[in-house]
């Protein structure tokens, strides 16, 4: 799924474009706990979260993720936007809640990953 399709499906506002919206992504994860995100590596490229602080971007960076989606109308500050831009990460915000956002992406083909410990 292209990142531009995620934007369209979630009716999201793009806050920074990173390396662009035309990259293909194949899996995603949704969590407000960053250590849970860090526990399962399997090339998740998209992080959906309701947490807004700089550690969200650092977590995505450590995981080599390409896109962060803030749910429930959460908006990052300028500093976070600038961090994401520097890291080449696309950042967007949607009014949808976590469950709805994850479900929408899932039924449209962006499946999750089985919990595989590395």
């Amino acid at each position: 799924m292209k990142i531009s399709m995620i934007r369209d499906l979630l009716d999201a506002d793009v806050l920074c474009y990173g390396e662009g919206l035309e990259s293909d992504v194949y899996s995603a994860c949704g969590s407000d706990m960053m250590s849970d995100v860090l526990a399962y590596v399997k090339d998740q490229a998209v992080l959906l979260t309701g947490l807004v602080n700089p550690q969200v971007i650092r977590t995505a960076e450590m995981m080599d993720m390409k896109c962060i989606v803030f749910v429930r109308s959460k908006k990052p500050n300028e500093n976070m936007i600038s961090m994401a831009e520097d890291d080449g990460i696309v950042m967007m915000a949607t009014d949808m809640r976590m469950y709805d956002a994850c479900g929408t992406l899932y039924i449209n083909g962006l499946i999750g990953t089985k919990a595989v410990h590395v």
Binding site: N53, R58, M63, H117, V118
Partner: protein, 141 residues
Amino acid sequence: MSDSLVFHFDVDGDNFTSAGQASTQVKKNLRQLGLSPAIIRRVSIAMYEGEINMVIHANGGTADVVVTEEYIEIVLEDRGPGIQNVEQAMQEGFSTATDSIRSLGFGAGMGLPNMKRYTDSMSIDTVIGEGTTITMRVNLA
């Protein structure tokens, strides 16, 4: 060992916002060395979790990363309260973090288990009231 590279960082314990800066820098440095993305990811996640721990539990400390041809070693040293029960702390889901830390997205009790998971060896040297030193290695050869 003459070919080893050493990176040293001071981790600021008062600033949650800047936590992870050392790990970010190490990730960049390792990329420049041309190491594989999988190795870089393991090292940087393990170090990042450790760095976060130092900030939320121990008021900061120092981080040293040594890169040799055989391995990458990360040494995290703090002068925090020490770990009361290491075996318990290594269990997934166990955490002494406060609700305010949880609201920041950490304190799920996954930090130390994640550090062990992503490294080939990890040792914890802790003294109550004096501090903790964690040494982790990721093998390259």
